[in-house]
Amino acid sequence: MSGSSTRGNMPPLALHVPEPKFRPGDQVDYSHLSIPEAGAQPRPDEQCAAAETQALCFDMVRVLGDDHRAVGPWDPKLDAETLRRMLRSMALTRAFDDRMYRGQRQGKTSFYMKCTGEEATSVAPAMALASDDMVFPSYRQQGILISRGYPIVEMINQIYSNRADKLKGRQLPIMYSAREASFFTISGNLATQYPQAVGWAMASAIKGDTRIAATWIGEGSTAEGDFHSAMTFATVYNAPVIFNVVNNQWAISSFSGFAGAERTTFAARAIGYGMAGLRVDGNDPLAVYAATKWAADRARSNAGPTLIEHFTYRAEGHSTSDDPGQYRSAHEREEWPLGDPINRLKQHLIALGEWSEEQHVAMDRELMDMVKAATKEAEKNGILGHGLHHPFHTMFEDVFEDLPWHLQEQSEQAIHERRVKWPEWSEEGKQP
């Protein structure tokens, strides 16, 4: 095969294909990660010029130190009641994940995605935002719904695609939509929510509203064009929006290097757009809260958008369809230098004298029972594939506001097929 140049005096070009540091079976050593001391990062004024945040794009905002105390200018100084509420929402998110994961393994649904280890990146921002600020999540932000008090029975109905599922069984499990919780419908296509959040924020500004938008994305999908379109539009129109990049190190089996992490940080993407950027310890709920509050205040005062990189670790597989043991070292999780967000907040509350191991055990038990009861409640409405789904004609609804002739004809065909397959079916909703 020819095609190579014959300029023999020049070195051959070499293609760099990124490779993660550790593969299955490898010992893990995270000493190459620079983890700055908690409390050491400056906190610029919320209305500062974007350029003043440049150093923070390469630093890491941290509040909780190794001694479990909150320190430094980013300490949000939350009262104990708020901290306990935060802890409870994160613990409920984890209990919910565990139960739903088991449910999928038991065949009650087709699919599930846990957010284990990343709970702080959704619960803490949800608490720092106003409850009517609009969120455009990716697929691992169930903590927002839980934090906003959305009924977990509704979440389970959706996961089971059952007869009570508000989304009529149309969406893959966990692709919630909850307008009353100011929670946008989750796509399943990656990064599309980013420009949409900007559009919502632009609309809010056009109307002279006071509500802002926030959106989430994984570090892997920052490579999508939508991410860059969103960043451009947000800075061009100074839109009141917060961009969260949850850098959990892994996009299914591709490590963050395939999104550019070998060259720079994800927070530093903000610099080229002239946007404020913050890089945050994503396993430190207080740092995440403080960063979100900073960005929310900034957006609400027309001082512009902010990009926040949450440096965290995906402790479990991408989804129930994934087996991380095939591509990464199992030791990564235990060696992760930023610890576990629930444990860190728990230890902080204990250090403050506002919590105890006994209280924690009791809370976990209570939450487990609560999720179990909600699961039983949801199961009354059916589980996936057991016939208690929405009626056939609903399949044709909501394609358009009104049913056009071609969908009317196709709907009649679907109902005809049902009668052929299940002659005993009756209009009263008794489906096999």
């Binding site: 420009p195 919502w200 609309a203 056009i206 394609v399």
Partner: protein
């Protein structure tokens, strides 16, 4: 109130002679006045008023936060329009040329089109994407395409193509008021005058054409209703946009008694009008400028065959552009002009 329901008949309504651009501008202006949630955005649409002048004067009249320029990013334009719709606005983004719409395709196909469905009605995308399309202006392969078939293939999108100033205004108002996403393709060859297919003859202005009489003020033409441009018995012509005029001119020249139907909306399609006509004439000629394979003509041909087979007296004729990119210098060799249409008519007439 739709045009058909209007208490004022076409003859009585005060009208002005407008070209397509002026009619579209008028529709946007009226809707911005009637509905404060309507916003217009796109590349060069603001101060400058659009490369084809469709948004001229709108920014000055309605303000910078309702009519504004955007970055050159169709993905961003459609993406923010989805978010604006979720907020409660009614965005009317312009994609400067239909050929440029592809970077915004994911946001249209996977997002706007399915928002209502996937959220069971919690969120909708009430946007109208306006875009000049079609060839015949020496636009080469990146300023001449007719990609309407792609959008008709997507569940949840409506596709509209007006063929004259009167319809352009009424259909655009209906599209903006529609709560579903509408792709509104404007045949740019006929922006300034109808086109009979003879590129070497002088352009006739809209002012000499009956359909340039545009009623003043607000009216709408319902989406999904075709128009019988000329009733006839010899065969049925199904066309839209520029090709309505070209087909009509060839039929007139040949002195054939064709029934010419301007579909106006491709999805939802006015199947009733199509069926009724073909059942009457027994023959069908389908004309579009877009490439042939999997073009919208293929869908039309299939529908006519499935639903009118026992009335057909001849094979359905399909006249289209060729399956090549739109070439610059050989533009008129590509265009489905009088020769291609005329020969199809001859075959139908002889059958």
């Amino acid at each position: 109130m739709t045009y058909e329901e209007s208490p004022v008949s076409l003859a009585e309504a005060p009208t002005r002679r407008l070209n397509m651009i002026e009619a579209i501008n008028d529709a946007l202006d009226i809707m911005m006045e009637r509905d404060p949630s309507v916003v217009v955005m796109g590349e060069d649409v603001g101060y400058f008023g659009g490369v084809f002048r469709a948004t001229a004067g709108l920014q000055k009249k309605h303000g910078k936060t309702r009519v504004f320029d955007t970055p050159i990013s169709e993905c961003g334009i459609i993406g923010v329009a989805v978010g604006m719709g979720a907020y409660g606005l009614r965005p009317v983004p312009e994609i400067q040329f239909a050929d440029y719409i592809y970077p915004g395709l994911d946001q249209l196909v996977s997002e706007a089109a399915r928002l209502r469905y996937r959220s069971a009605g919690e969120f909708i995308a009430p946007m109208t994407v306006r875009s000049p399309f079609g060839g015949g202006i020496f636009g080469g392969q990146t300023h001449s395409q007719s990609p309407e078939a792609m959008f008709t293939h997507v569940a949840g999108l409506k596709t509209v193509v007006p063929s004259n100033p009167h319809d352009a205004k009424g259909l655009l108002i209906a599209a903006i008021e529609d709560n579903d996403p509408v792709i509104f393709f404007e045949p740019k060859r006929i922006y300034n005058g109808p086109f009979n297919g003879y590129y070497d003859k002088p352009v006739e202005p809209w002012s000499k054409h009956a359909d340039s009489a545009v009623p003043e003020g607000y009216y709408s033409i319902p989406l999904g209703k075709a128009r019988i441009v000329r009733p006839g018995n010899a065969f049925t012509v199904l066309a839209y946009g520029t090709m309505v005029h070209v087909a009509a001119a060839v039929c007139a020249e040949k002195g054939v008694d064709a029934e010419i139907i301007d579909l106006r909306t491709l999805v939802p399609l006015d199947i009733e009008t199509v069926e009724k006509s073909v059942e009457k004439t027994g023959k069908c000629l389908i004309v579009h400028e877009a490439t042939r394979t999997s073009g919208f003509g293929a869908e039309l041909s299939a529908l006519v065959q499935e639903r009118c087979f026992y009335h057909l007296e001849a094979p359905i004729e399909r006249v289209t552009g060729f399956d090549t990119p739109y070439p610059h210098s050989l533009e008129w060799a590509y265009f489905p002009g009088p020769v291609r249409i005329g020969e199809a008519i001859d075959r139908l007439t002889k059958a």
